[in-house]
Amino acid sequence: MSTELTMPKLGLTMKTGKVARWLVAEGACVHQGDEIFEVETDKITNKVESPADGVLVRILVPQGEVVEVGTVLGLLGEAGEAVDAPAQSASAPAAAPAGDAEEKGAASPAAVQAAAPAQASDTSWILATPRARALSRFLELDLRHVTPTGANGRIREADVIARQDVLSRIAITPLARVLASQAGLDICTLTGSGEGGKIVRADVERALNPEAAQAAPAAAAVESAAADVREMVLDECSGASPVRTLSATVDVTACQQLLGDMKRLGAQYKKAAAALDLGLLMALVAARTLAAHPALNAVYGNGRLVRERSVQLALRTMPAGSEALLSDAQGKGLLALASDRQAAGAGSSTFVLTSYAGSRVERATPALGAGQAAGLVLGAPVQRAVSCNGSLTLREACDVTLGYDARLVTDAEACAFMDALVAAADNPLLLVF
């Protein structure tokens, strides 16, 4: 469905108006409220805003022409949309002098058809500087999707760079990228349903064929809908965050053994020894578990919930009260984390782990960082008698408590995370695999 852009009536007496300037090139993306063309009358000059998001798929009245109020000037649609020129006879453009009106009327629709981008990939009709064009060729970037900022709607090098910058931040699978490019789709207009909002093949196919996608109940769509509902709830109750907690007991005997072995056997661990403790090991376990559960490694801000792929883990150590940021913690080994901890770097985190392992506090309620979906508390280790193969044996155990914002994380997601965390902490050697 395309939206018609018409000559607005800007005053009581206005009968005709001149399209002074198109501010957006044919084929470019526009957002609702973007200035899209400039109208000039004998009284005023006014910029007209786009009524919707979309792509300016067709300019029907070139700049400089005077037309009657209500004349369709251009069509707004979706990227790659095939558009038929509307019946111009219903609202024929009124050329100024009556003498050549007929001639213009006859020439106009034909000219429009000739100028229409018959081949979807043809960008020769786009106004762009040679440098911008060369760069777009080099980057294999479609000029039709670049928003111009130069004079007369000309695309400049900076516009191509800006577009490339946007594209580079969109998460999309290689297959989806190829499919979208083949179809001439602007990937900016696609909604990702993959992990962390990544655009996957199904999203491209849905954009190309919306009806078929509706008929088939796609699991991904359900997921994204659920996320949408949660965002709405979040907007409505932006007061105190409803933090729920889940607790579990972790057997840290193996963890302690591992730490002891490292300190005893490895001279190369000497430098890191001071930073090697149960809190750090739990940080590693939590980071790797979070990488597989991005729902909990999420931050809400500016009306958007972003599920981060990399874990920026803030490790708070009690009772010292010190804090260190372990950046990209999911991909680092224990020694790298130890050196991060010793550097005591600061920065914005996605998840907070508070370790009471060096204290006598066994349980605490996690406090969440600003906008963060979840956080974890590690309690002090205690000796517990547990049943093992029919006899009692002493094991060292800690309580771990997960706090999560119920608006951002479902109970099921939180539970799945805890199960995985406990399994990994019970036997840290599993992390090797």
């Binding site: 040679p130 440098r131 130069g150 004079a151």
Partner: protein, 323 residues
Amino acid sequence: MARKTYLQALNDAMRQEMERDPSVFILGEDVGKFGGCFGVTQGLFDQFGERRVRDTPISESAIVGAAAGAASAGLRPIAELMFVDFIGVAMDQLFNQAAKMRFMFGGKAKVPMVLRMPQGAGVNAAAQHSQSLEAWFMHIPGIKVCIPSTPADAKGLLVSAIRDDNPVVFLEHKLLYGIEGEVDDDLYEIPLGSGRVVREGSDVTIVATALMVHRALEAAEILAKDGISVEIVDPRTLVPLDKECILTSGRKTHALVVVQEAVKTAGAGAEIAAMVAEEAIEYLDAPIVRLGAPFCPVPFSPPLEQAYMPSVDKIVEAVRNQR
């Protein structure tokens, strides 16, 4: 080094070359006792006498023709016309004779002459005494064209022009005769075909000559306050043209504005713009802009003459509107 005017620098170049080389002599209307229409040859008659500083009848064709003949016979004449606008009557002597001898005689003849001519508007001298005609001379193979903008360039280029074995048209801007600048007391040459980066910048290249170099510099100061960094290139000679100097700057800034005082149509700026488009179009991130006078004769009325010439404001506006 000493501070000298453009006029004194030209006078020095001729005096020192005449002291060095007895084959150099001057001819033109009122160049002798009177010292030249604008005073450029002042004092030379007294120093070198009437055989080497020769007053001529009021006949441009005689002046240019005699210079071409003397040059082909082994002397190094410096001919002066009062205004470039008078070259019309001597055009055959220049473009059909002087410019072609070396080619048509298989290199057996050479024509080491200099034709000095003041040009340019801004002095209320009306349509027949105010033109900028550099493009005429650029179009004829066999003539070199100098168009200096500073006293130092004026001296160095004139020395090179005198020593060159080809006819050199030397265009002096009337409004520049009084400007001052540092000039070396010793003789020095500025090779013909070497442009100069007058001001370094990163956002746009302005190529300008003669008076327009100074206006471009003023415009660059204003644009710098807007955060637009202007590089200014003065080619100094239009034939030969230092293409590499212009292209290097254009490749750096990705934008080109060419400013000339002459009418825009078929001017030196058109040649430069076309050359850059041919050789560096892929480097450009904006259309090339040419700035020149409107396609009409120079008005006599002072306010109209000011409006006619490319001004600092027009250069600023052209650069702002380019992007």
